[in-house]
C-alpha cells in the first residue's frame, strides 16, 4: 500500500494519469446519476434498470458501428431510441407504480432490468462488445498520462448535457411543469398540469440521457448484457450523496467518486475498489447525519 503511494512521489505524472482517468469515468457516472436524480425526485421511484438503459444505448452504438456508421452519430440516435423505450415503459409499467411505496418501484424496475438483460442477450448475444470510434489518445509527460479522446468527448458531453438540462428545467414549459410536479404533484394538478404527461416525459428524458451515456460507454469501455448493475449502483450512490434536485452536487459527487475509486484501486488494489466506495458512502451518510443532528439542536 505504502509502496503504491510512493509511486506517486517518484512519478507525479502517474498520479495525474489516475486522477484524469478517474474524472473521465466520473463524467459517465454523472450522466446516469442526473437521470436517476430526476426520476427519483419527480416520480419518486428508484429506477434499478438505469444500468440496463446505459448498456442498451451502448448496443445502439455497437450496431451502428457494425453497419459502418461512425458510432459518434449513435449518441443522438441512442438517446432517441431510449427516449421512446422510456416513454413506452412508462405507459406500460411505470404509471402503475407511481404513488405506490418505494419497494414496489424497486421490484418493478428490477423486473424491467431482468427483461432488458435477457432481451439484449437474445438479440445481441453474450459476447463482450465495443464500438470503435477510431479516435486516438492524447499523451502527456512522455506517455505517462494518457487521455483517450473519446473520454474527453464524454466529459464535454456530460458538461453540455448538464447545462442543457438545467436550462430546460428552468426555462421551458415542460421543465417548469416537471419542477412544479416534483415540488407538489397535487398542487400541480390543481393548477392544470397534466402530471401523467410530466411523469412520462421525465422517464423518457432519463432513458435518453442513459442511452447517450451508453453510446459513450461502448466507445470508451466495454459492454455486455449483464454489466449494467455497476452503473445503477454508482448512480444510486451519487444521488444519495448529492441529494435530489442538486445538479451541481451530482456533478461534483460523480467526478469525486470516479477519482476516489481510481485512487483506491491504485493504492489499495482493485480488489478493494468497491469496498472503499461503499465505505465512502457510509462515511458521507454518517457525516451528514451528524450535521443534521447539529442543525436540529439549533432549532431546539
Amino acid at each position: 500500500m505504502i509502496d503504491n503511494f510512493m509511486i506517486f512521489v517518484a512519478s507525479p505524472a502517474t498520479a495525474l494519469d489516475v486522477l484524469v482517468n478517474g474524472l473521465l469515468i466520473g463524467a459517465i457516472f454523472a450522466l446516469t446519476a442526473y437521470g436517476m436524480a430526476l426520476v427519483w425526485g419527480v416520480i419518486k421511484i428508484i429506477n434499478i434498470a438505469q444500468g440496463e438503459f446505459v448498456i442498451l444505448g451502448g448496443y445502439v452504438a455497437f450496431v451502428m458501428a457494425q453497419q459502418g456508421i461512425h458510432p459518434l452519430f449513435a449518441i443522438p440516435v441512442a438517446a432517441l431510441i431510449l427516449a421512446i423505450l422510456g416513454w413506452l415503459l412508462y405507459r406500460v409499467v411505470i404509471f402503475r407504480i407511481v404513488d405506490r411505496d418505494l419497494f414496489t418501484s424497486l421490484l418493478a424496475t428490477y423486473g424491467i432490468a431482468i427483461v432488458l438483460q435477457q432481451l439484449m442477450n437474445t438479440v445481441f448475444g453474450g459476447d463482450v462488445q465495443i464500438a470503435d470510434a477510431g479516435l486516438g489518445t492524447l499523451f502527456l509527460f512522455d506517455f505517462m498520462v494518457s487521455i483517450a479522446e473519446i473520454k474527453i468527448i464524454a466529459f464535454g458531453l456530460a458538461a453540455i448535457l448538464a447545462v442543457v438540462l438545467v436550462l430546460f428545467l428552468r426555462r421551458s414549459r415542460m421543465g417548469q411543469a416537471i419542477r412544479a410536479t416534483a415540488q407538489n404533484p397535487r398542487a400541480a394538478r390543481v393548477l392544470g398540469i397534466d402530471t401523467d404527461r410530466v411523469y412520462a416525459a421525465t422517464f423518457a428524458l432519463n432513458a435518453a440521457i442513459c442511452g447517450a451515456a451508453g453510446a459513450l460507454v461502448a466507445m470508451a469501455y466495454t459492454i455486455h448484457p449483464y454489466v449494467g448493475l455497476p452503473y445503477t449502483l454508482r448512480a444510486f450512490m451519487i444521488v444519495v450523496v448529492a441529494g435530489l434536485g442538486n445538479m451541481a452536487g451530482v456533478i461534483v459527487a460523480a467526478l469525486g467518486l470516479g477519482a476516489a475509486e481510481n485512487f483506491a484501486a491504485f493504492i489499495l488494489g482493485t480488489q478493494f475498489q468497491l469496498a472503499f466506495t461503499f465505505l465512502l458512502l457510509v462515511a458521507v451518510l454518517v457525516w451528514r447525519n451528524w450535521r443534521l443532528a447539529r442543525k436540529r439542536q439549533y432549532l431546539k
Partner: protein
C-alpha cells in the same frame, strides 16, 4: 384434417424406418446445465456447441454400441444463468426429476465446483471440459473427470518462455525479471495465478503488481497506470472474456509498453477483431489449436474438427468447444468399453480411459484430471493466432519483446 395428420405420421414413420439402423430407438440421455444467459453466455454457448457437434457426429456414425444394444446419445440442457446456486439446483433436478444417469459439465470452474458435490452425493459420473481449477481435483471426488489441462498450467508456460529468453531478449538474467499480475477474483483465474506464481518463484522472478479484479469491473486504468510507472517485463491478465477485451483495449489506448503481455481467453473474446493493433504480439494460453497434430476416427484431425465447426456455426472453434466435444467422446468410449449402463461400471471405465482425440490424448489420474495433454501458447502474429509453444506444435517462433505500438 385427420387425413393430413395420418399422412404426416406415415411419412414420419417411413422416414424413420428408411433412416435404417442409425435410428436405433434406444437413447442415452446425458444431462448438462450450461450458461446460456448471464455473464458466461459466450463460453456457455461454445460449450453447448461442442457437445452438440460431438453428439451429432457420434449418432451419424451409428451411435454407441453398449453390450448388444446400439444407443444414440442425447443431451438434456438447462440454462444455469451463470450462477452457481442455479447450477447446483439444476443438477439436482436433472438427476432427481429427469432421471439422468450421466452428466456433462457446465462452463467455468465455479459452476463445476457448485455441481460436483451434487453428482458425488448421487454417484452420477460427470465428464467436463470447462472446469480447469486445480481445487476441483483435491477433494477426493470420484465421479468427476476433466478432459482439459488444469488451470495452473495455463500461463505457466508463458513464464517459462520468458525465463528461457530472458538473457537474450530481455537483456537480464531470469531472476531479475519483474512481473505484474492482474487476475479476476474467481476460482479459475486465481488458480491460473497460483500456477503463474509457482513458476515465478521457481525462476526467482519478482512480482511488482498483484491485483485481483472484481468480476463486475470494466475499467483497468488504475492497474495499467501502475504498470506504466513500474515498467515490469511481463504483464499477465486473466479475467475470462471481459477481462481479455478490457485489457487489450486499454493496453492499446493507454499505450502500455511491456516486453511480454500474456493473457487467457484471447480467442473466445475475439480480441484480434476488437483491437488488432493492441492485440498484436500478445501471448495467449490455449488448451488446443486447430493446427495441432492430434487426430481421431470420429472427427479426423484437429483441423478437420475446426473446419466442420466453422461450416456448422460460422466461426472458428474456440478451445472451449473442442474440449467439450472431447468430453462427449470420452463418454462414448467409456460406454462402449463398460458394455453396460451401470453407473459404477461406467465410472470405472471412465477412470481407465486412454484414448487419442482430435483435442489431444485423454488419460485421467486418480483425481480425474487429464494428464496426457499439455497446454499450448499462442501468439498473435500478423493478426492471426500462431502456436509458439510447446516447441513440438510451434508454427512460429515467438516475437519477444513486443515491438512498440504505433
Amino acid at each position: 384434417m385427420t387425413k393430413t395428420r395420418f399422412l404426416l405420421a406415415t411419412a414420419l414413420i417411413g422416414g424413420v424406418a428408411l433412416a435404417g439402423p442409425a435410428a436405433a430407438a434406444e437413447v442415452i440421455t446425458i444431462g448438462a446445465a450450461v450458461s446460456l444467459t448471464g455473464k458466461y453466455t459466450t463460453n456457455g454457448e461454445h460449450t453447448q456447441r461442442g457437445y452438440d457437434l460431438a453428439v451429432d457426429m457420434i449418432n451419424k456414425a451409428g451411435g454407441v454400441k453398449v453390450g448388444d444394444t446400439t444407443y444414440e446419445l442425447a443431451v438434456k440442457y438447462y440454462d444455469d444463468e451463470s450462477t452457481a446456486a442455479r447450477g447446483a439446483e439444476l443438477a439436482e433436478r436433472l438427476i432427481l426429476q429427469d432421471g439422468v444417469q450421466f452428466m456433462l459439465g457446465p462452463y467455468s470452474s465455479g459452476l463445476t465446483r457448485a455441481i460436483a458435490p451434487v453428482i458425488e452425493e448421487h454417484k452420477i459420473p460427470m465428464v467436463e471440459g470447462n472446469g480447469a481449477s486445480r481445487s476441483l481435483f483435491t477433494n477426493g471426488w470420484r465421479y468427476i473427470f476433466a478432459t482439459l489441462s488444469t488451470s495452473e498450467q495455463y500461463l505457466a508456460s508463458a513464464i517459462a518462455l520468458a525465463a528461457e529468453v530472458a538473457e537474450v531478449k530481455l537483456g537480464k538474467p531470469a531472476n531479475e525479471v519483474t512481473v505484474a499480475l492482474a487476475f479476476e477474483n474467481d476460482a479459475f483465474s486465481q488458480d491460473v495465478r497460483a500456477g503463474v506464481i509457482d513458476d515465478i518463484h521457481k525462476f526467482g522472478m519478482t512480482i511488482v503488481i498483484d491485483d485481483k479484479l472484481p468480476p463486475e469491473l470494466n475499467d483497468m486504468a488504475p492497474i495499467l497506470s501502475k504498470v506504466k510507472a513500474l515498467k515490469p517485463d511481463i504483464l499477465v491478465i486473466s479475467g475470462h472474456s471481459k477481462g481479455a477485451v478490457t485489457g487489450i483495449r486499454q493496453v492499446g489506448e493507454m499505450r502500455v509498453e511491456v516486453p511480454i503481455l500474456a493473457m487467457t481467453h484471447c480467442d473466445s473474446a475475439k480480441v484480434i477483431e476488437k483491437d488488432p493493433a493492441a492485440a498484436e504480439y500478445t501471448l495467449c494460453a490455449t488448451q488446443w489449436a486447430p493446427s495441432m497434430s492430434y487426430s481421431d476416427d470420429l472427427f479426423g484431425s484437429a483441423g478437420d474438427f475446426a473446419k466442420l465447426f466453422e461450416d456448422t456455426y460460422g466461426m472458428a472453434p474456440p478451445y472451449q468447444a473442442a474440449e467439450s466435444a472431447a468430453a462427449v467422446m470420452v463418454f462414448a468410449d467409456a460406454f462402449a468399453r463398460a458394455g453396460t449402463l451401470d453407473r459404477e461400471v461406467v465410472r470405472d471405465a471412465l477412470a481407465a480411459t486412454d484414448i487419442k482425440t482430435f483435442f489431444g490424448d485423454v488419460r485421467f489420474d486418480e483425481t480425474g484430471k487429464n494428464i496426457a495433454k499439455p497446454m499450448a501458447l499462442y501468439q498473435v502474429l500478423g493478426g492471426e493466432l500462431k502456436v509458439v509453444a510447446p516447441s513440438a506444435f510451434a508454427e512460429a517462433a515467438p516475437v519477444i519483446p513486443r515491438p512498440p505500438m504505433n
